[in-house]
């Protein structure tokens, strides 16, 4: 009966109820959509980090990441191969030889990092080959093919099949030069990456560096599903305690921080929306109580206890909050679904976004957990917003309330 009275009471003043329900709907709609937008925005960056730039896990010599020295390499021995093979959570892995060098075209030169890959295993771990805007992924050119970023191609003013001269140090420190020919040009959402990372065949780089066949600087690992990488790192660490084994979160702490900050940011954003809505609900419910003083006095007089009156006000407030909240969530889900197909084009701010590695077309995403969190927060707001009006209602003196006109 309490819920029935509460629900019917809402519609006693349709205009007032619809105004506050609309406010709640818009607030929750905006809150949920912003969460989905930010989540999609950051998730796309994380996906790019995992799928294109870093992959889930990387193995290095313990000194390599700080020294970047060619001599800080790992030996691909049986222990390492066996440890990798034993991890069922690993989907694929690939080895890389790494070197810094100077790349020069006929017009200009630039500093780059050369990544010597085995194309057959590399394409199973990273998706850079899907980002090609021209040419192929190290195919079609017999001698020293190279894949470079579009941004670097612009800087060097080169195109497909252009010659590039790369100067680098051999393993013993001797400077050497080699001519490469552009086999492919790629572009990612990260212009800094595009400008500095060039890909060559591992066998070509190994020959240039005069590196033994058994050594590698980096092993990149793709696991079957996100979230298991920490456990894999722990197990690999036990098997190979002398290696530096890290997830993308450690290798790119700024992305991890952004991921964590996003949670805080969305919580603050939704918190502000709910706080404002909460005060709106309190105001509405106080008006309701003021209008119904004689009625509340009558219900007290006929024997409705304070708990039931409190629950009645609480139920009415919750009905208001839940109707607005659920409609807001539904509308937001419709828009999220729509923009998941169309994307949200932010190309007006492309330069700034790409400089920091972000896509210019955002595809909002939201998880069931986030929706449940918002729903719980709406309920919590309803409960908190009901407390003061309900307290006012139950503190009424029935005989005085009945005299109120």
């Amino acid at each position: 009966m309490i819920w029935s009275i509460a629900w019917r009471n809402i519609w006693r003043n349709k205009t007032r109820s619809l105004v506050i329900i609309t406010a709640i709907t818009l607030g929750i709609f905006a809150g949920v959509f912003i969460i989905a937008f930010l989540y999609g925005w950051v998730q796309q960056r994380i996906d790019a980090v995992i799928q294109t730039e870093v992959s889930h896990i990387q193995l290095h010599h313990p000194a390599y990441l700080s020294s970047q020295e060619l001599t800080d390499y790992m030996v691909l021995n049986d222990t390492l191969q066996k440890a990798l093979a034993q991890q069922t959570a690993i989907q694929h892995h690939t080895t890389r030889l790494l070197s810094s060098g100077m790349i020069a075209s006929a017009e200009t030169k630039a500093g780059v990092q050369l990544i010597g890959v085995v194309p057959e295993t590399e394409i199973a771990v990273t998706n850079l080959h899907t980002h090609l805007v021209a040419g192929t992924y190290l195919e079609g050119i017999k001698r020293n093919p190279i894949v470079i970023g579009q941004q670097l191609a612009k800087t060097l003013n080169v195109k497909l099949r252009s010659k590039l001269v790369i100067t680098l140090s051999e393993m013993d420190g001797t400077l050497t030069k080699a001519t490469f020919r552009v086999a492919g040009i790629y572009t990612t959402a990260n212009t800094a990456y595009d400008e500095t990372k060039v890909f060559v065949r591992q066998q070509d780089l190994r020959r240039l560096l005069k590196a033994p066949a058994s050594i590698t600087h980096e092993i990149a690992i793709l696991v079957h599903e996100n979230g298991v990488e920490d456990a894999v790192v722990q197990e690999l660490g036990t098997a190979m305690p002398t290696l530096d084994i890290a997830t993308w979160k450690t290798l790119m702490p700024e992305i991890q921080m952004m991921h964590e900050n996003m949670s805080v940011m969305t919580a603050v954003f939704v918190g502000i929306i709910l706080l404002a809505l909460g005060f709106g609900i309190v105001n509405t419910m106080l008006m309701v109580i003021l209008e119904r003083i004689p009625e509340i006095g009558m219900t007290m007089a006929i024997g409705m206890n304070t708990r039931s009156i409190f629950l009645m006000i609480l139920a009415e407030t919750l009905c208001l909050a839940m109707v607005g909240g659920l409609v807001g969530i539904l509308l937001a889900l419709v828009l999220i679904r729509f923009t998941q197909y169309t994307g949200i084009d932010l190309s007006l701010w492309a330069a700034g976004l790409q400089a920091t590695g972000f896509d210019t077309v955002i595809y909002p995403q939201i998880t069931l957990i986030e929706i449940l969190k918002v729903t719980c927060l709406v309920i919590l707001t309803g409960i908190l917003a009901a407390l003061y009006p309900a307290k006012k209602a139950i503190s009424l003196n029935p005989s005085e309330a009945l005299r109120t006109r």
Partner: protein, 239 residues
């Protein structure tokens, strides 16, 4: 058997730092089955007296016993239980819950008492039939006339089988026909069911139907007389 015994009842208010004695030492008893009117001019103290009898307000001093239970010693929560189980209220301004139908308004108090759905529906229909509203049980108050709303209020007051019904100016907002109709129903319930009614009123039409008239002036009982209903004939002065 007395259902109500009041001893030396005093109620003082403070109005702008000036103490006002609304009830000044009233003592009275009401027997089961009485049809009693408490009359007096505005401000005489009749509503204050009714509020204290109904447990809506507490006296400054004195005692009120309802069926041997001293209600002046009850806590606020106990007074709510007392009102739910012992008192039926009929107010001046109908005071039904507007979002509930007639049957729901009557059944509400039974639900508060924990009566089963089937039983409260049955009792509510019986009572609404008794007050002549069997064809309006699913109407909301806004769709009922003033007289019909007040009859629903009477049905609700009787739903919990109270010790007595307190009616505060029940006919103040009714026209002559509705007043006559309501009084007839209440008289009938009084005679046939033995329901005790205590009114506060200054409506002569109600006074004429009462079998006992207690006149209150300045917070004191001025007269208390048994009368023949529908006439002003005094039977026997009690004070």
């Amino acid at each position: 058997m007395n259902v109500l015994e009041i001893q030396h009842l005093v109620k003082e208010y403070t109005d702008a730092d000036t103490p006002v004695r609304a009830i000044d030492g009233i003592s009275l008893t009401v027997a089961a089955g009485e049809f009693t009117a408490i009359v007096g001019p505005s401000g005489s103290g009749k509503t204050s007296l009714l509020n204290m009898i109904g447990g809506l307000d507490t006296p400054t001093s004195g005692t009120i016993h309802v069926q041997q239970q001293n209600i002046t010693q009850l806590t606020a929560a106990q007074r709510i239980d007392f009102r739910r189980n012992h008192i039926g209220f009929v107010f001046q301004s109908y005071n039904l819950i507007p979002v509930l139908t007639a049957i729901e308004n009557v059944a509400l108090i039974l639900q508060l008492q924990g009566v089963s759905k089937k039983e409260r529906q049955q009792r509510a229909v019986e009572l609404l039939t008794a007050v002549g509203l069997q064809d309006r049980i699913h109407s909301r108050p806004a769709n009922l006339s003033g007289g019909q709303q007040q009859r629903v209020a009477v049905a609700r007051a009787l739903a919990s089988r109270p010790t007595f019904v307190l009616a505060d100016e029940p006919t103040a907002n009714l026209d002559s026909k509705a007043t006559e109709n309501l009084l007839q129903i209440m008289q009938q319930l009084n005679k046939e069911e033995g329901t005790t009614f205590i009114f506060s009123t200054h409506d002569q039409r109600v006074i004429n139907k009462a079998r006992r008239i207690i006149t209150v002036e300045d917070g004191k009982i001025h007269t208390d007389e048994q009368v023949v209903p529908d006439s002003a004939t005094t039977l026997a002065p009690m004070v």
